[in-house]
């Protein structure tokens, strides 16, 4: 613990986490391929995970690490369901462009 704070300051971890999260957001917003969008979501989740472990380490708290496990479990489940939906969408519409999957509007 002392080692971490001495060698790599906390703020670096947080900056990395923020950069990864912003990459995820930007990817989500500008990419058209559904699979890429999906991967961007995973990126955001992992960015959040990174800040969770960082803080857990900093405050000597195990709760943050437990939270990370929850996020991983949910992400795994989401990946299973999400990929299944993507396959179903592709079979139905022969495309994965998010802009063209827009039937749920008024």
């Amino acid at each position: 613990m002392q080692i971490v704070s001495q060698e790599v300051p906390l703020v670096w971890y947080l900056l990395l986490s923020a950069v990864l999260f912003c990459l995820g957001v930007v990817g989500f917003l500008i990419k058209r391929n559904l699979i890429t969008v999906f991967m961007s979501i995973e990126l955001m989740l992992n960015a959040v995970n990174l800040s969770f472990v960082t803080f857990a380490h900093q405050w000597h708290e195990v709760k943050g690490q437990i939270f990370v496990f929850f996020v991983m479990v949910v992400a795994a489940a989401e990946a299973a369901v999400g990929l299944a939906i993507i396959i179903a969408v592709f079979r139905a519409r022969a495309t994965l462009a998010v802009d063209r999957i827009d039937l749920m509007k008024l």
Binding site: L10, I30, V37, K105, L106
Partner: protein, 635 residues
């Protein structure tokens, strides 16, 4: 407390009859419907008979009904001499009328519905009479109003019947309003509605007279005037004749309309303390008696004559109450229940014989064609006219004597009552001659005698009408004295016989004039000849309905239409609703553009929202006083 008499059975039995016939009646054969409908009042009558041998008064409580702070209402029934007499009349006469109805309503489509309503009426009426507190009485009071409404409008396909039902209900509502105000005043001043507690509290405070008690008594009397068809709220009763004739006999002659008299007698300890209220009751009673009797002189519908006669006789009862002769009023109530039920049932038999014709000008000659109806009707006519030693002779005489004995104002009221007695005899014998004597004036009708299910009750009621006076003559007051107290002023000796002779003479004069006009000359228009204007005034019932229509109904309709409908409903409420609907439509039209179906646009809004939120959370920390120290401690 002595052992239970199961008083609850008295109202509950008819209620079971109502439920069975009301819910299942349309699937049951007529014989089963009749059996259920007849057993209910018979059962109640037997329970009353059994209960009558117990020590009175007897009260039973079935638990708390309403408790709120110190306010407490028990579900309690009280049987005393007063409610016992009422119950015997209600269930006894009610049972006879049920039997009669089996014959009278035999071919009606709504047979089961009719008996369900009739049993429902008995349920509420017995509740009203048995109630140990004013609020429970009010429940029965409203309930009989409901049953009355349902039965007046029984043939609701006829507009006139449906209108008459509404009229009865609405006019009664005005009276009930007064009753309710009276109850609130009682509650505010005495904190209880139990009759026995109220009586005790008032008795414990002998100096309490007038003032608030007058207000309470007058409010209660407004309720009584509505239910018992007194001036100025009598207008619904003649129209109530649109209902089936046995209903007129049971509800609008023998029982329900006497509820007002019963209520005044039940709360007599309040009226006793207010000479003003008593005078009002007596004056209204006497005025109604005379007023209704004069209208009855010229009516041509046989049931309407009887309806006005009922209003008039109820006026006698209130005259009795007003001179504090409560037992005489209750005595007249009982004999009236006998002879007026008989008159109505016999009239129903006449209508049945004439094939539905109610206009007396088309009747006549039924004496030989319907002899049993004729003889029973004759008994009733003699009874109501005060023929010596028949029932009304005793009861009417008791009221008139009490009025005479009560002094100054009473003497005047006594004279009004005496005049009314002559008028009563006149219109009853007019009806009698027009219906039964001469030739049948309608050529379509084939008069025939009614079946025995109808004639049986007529015969029993005829016996009661003739002999009913002997039940009470001389000892009725003593019997009721535990409840109603004893009357102090009594006529004695020769004066009492003079009174009787005068009353009989008044009746005889009425008979004589009717005989001259309708039997010897048999010309219905005779009455009109001397004073055409007066005749038309009477025939149009003093234009009271038109007057009410002009000062109450028309303005109310105008108010409803122009103000309530157009301004309040259409402009204010409708405008508000349209404004809100327009707002929702407009905002929907704008906001629906967000729902583009484009996932990336949703995500962009989400991100934007998150950014804004983050800004507001973090801004005070970044730009404001407390700066962030996240991990910066290391530096």
């Amino acid at each position: 407390m002595n052992e239970s008499l199961h008083l609850w059975l008295i109202p509950v039995l008819p209620f079971i009859g109502f439920l069975l016939n009301g819910l299942l009646g349309h699937r049951l054969p007529k014989a089963v419907v009749s059996a259920i409908a007849l057993l209910a009042p018979l059962g109640s009558f037997l329970v009353v008979l059994l209960a009558s041998r117990a020590a009175l008064p007897h009260s039973e409580s079935y638990g708390n009904w309403i408790t709120a702070g110190s306010f407490n209402i028990d579900l309690s029934f009280v049987l005393d001499q007063l409610s016992l007499i009422m119950l015997l009349v209600i269930t006894g006469v009610g049972f006879l009328i049920h039997i009669y109805s089996v014959g009278y309503m035999h071919s009606d489509e709504g047979y089961w519905r009719y008996f369900a309503y009739l049993n429902l009426f008995l349920f509420f009426m017995t509740t009203l009479v048995l109630a140990g507190n004013a609020l429970l009485m009010f429940v029965g009071w409203e309930g009989v109003g409901l049953a009355s409404y349902l039965l007046i409008g029984f043939w609701f396909q006829k507009t006139s019947a449906a209108d008459a039902g509404k009229k009865a209900f609405i006019v009664n509502r005005i009276g009930d309003f007064g009753f309710l105000i009276g109850l609130f005043l009682l509650l505010a001043n005495f904190g209880t509605l139990s009759f026995s507690d109220l009586a005790a509290k008032i008795a414990a405070n002998p100096t309490l007279t007038g003032g608030v008690l007058t207000a309470i008594a007058l409010c209660l009397f407004i309720g009584a005037a509505g239910k018992s068809a007194q001036l100025p709220l009598y207008v619904w009763l003649p129209d109530a004749m649109e209902g089936p004739t046995p209903v007129s006999a049971l509800i609008h002659a023998a029982t329900m309309v006497t509820a007002g008299v019963y209520m005044v007698a039940r709360t007599h300890f309040i009226f006793d303390r207010s000479p003003l209220a008593l005078s009002v009751v007596a004056i209204i009673g006497a005025a109604t008696a005379l007023f209704a009797a004069t209208i009855g002189l010229v009516q041509t519908d046989i049931k309407r004559v009887l309806a006005y006669s009922t209003v008039s006789q109820l006026g006698y009862m209130f005259l009795g109450c007003g001179v504090a002769a409560y037992s005489a009023a209750i005595f007249h109530l009982m004999t009236h229940a006998f002879f007026k039920a008989l008159l109505f049932l016999a009239a129903g038999s006449v209508i049945h014989a004439m094939g539905g014709e109610q206009d007396m000008r088309k009747m006549g000659g039924l004496r030989t064609k319907a002899p049993i109806t004729f003889w029973t009707m004759t008994m009733a006519v003699l009874a109501i006219s005060g023929f010596p030693f028949m029932s009304a002779f005793f009861s009417k005489d008791a009221i008139l004597a009490a009025a005479f004995a009560s002094g100054g104002l009473g003497k005047l009221l006594w004279f009004v009552g005496l005049a009314t007695a002559a008028l009563t005899a006149f219109y009853m014998f007019r009806l009698w001659y027009l219906t039964f004597f001469g030739e049948t004036r309608s050529h379509e009708a084939h008069p025939h005698e009614s079946p025995w299910s109808m004639l049986g009750p007529l015969v029993i009621l005829a016996v009661l009408s003739v002999g009913g006076g002997w039940i009470g003559a001389g000892r009725f007051g003593a019997f009721l004295s535990p409840v109603l107290g004893t009357k102090t002023e009594e006529l004695t000796g020769s004066l009492e016989y003079v009174m009787m002779a005068l009353a009989v003479a008044a009746g005889a004069i009425g008979w004589f004039i009717a005989h001259r006009m309708y039997h010897q000359h048999s010309a219905a228009a005779q009455l009109a000849a001397p004073a055409p204007a007066g005749y038309s005034l009477l025939q149009n019932k003093y234009y009271v309905d038109e007057f009410y229509g002009f000062i109450i109904v028309k303005p109310l309709i105008a108010l409803s239409k122009y103000f309530l409908e157009w301004v309040v409903d259409f402009a204010i409420l409708g405008g508000l609703a349209w404004f809100l609907a327009g707002l929702a439509t407009l905002s929907g039209a704008i906001l629906q553009r967000w729902q583009s179906g484009n996932i990336r646009s949703y995500a962009a809004w989400l991100a934007l929202g998150a950014a804004v939120l983050l800004y507001f959370v973090l801004a005070p920390h970044v730009f404001g006083a407390p700066s962030l120290h996240l991990g910066m401690a290391g530096h």
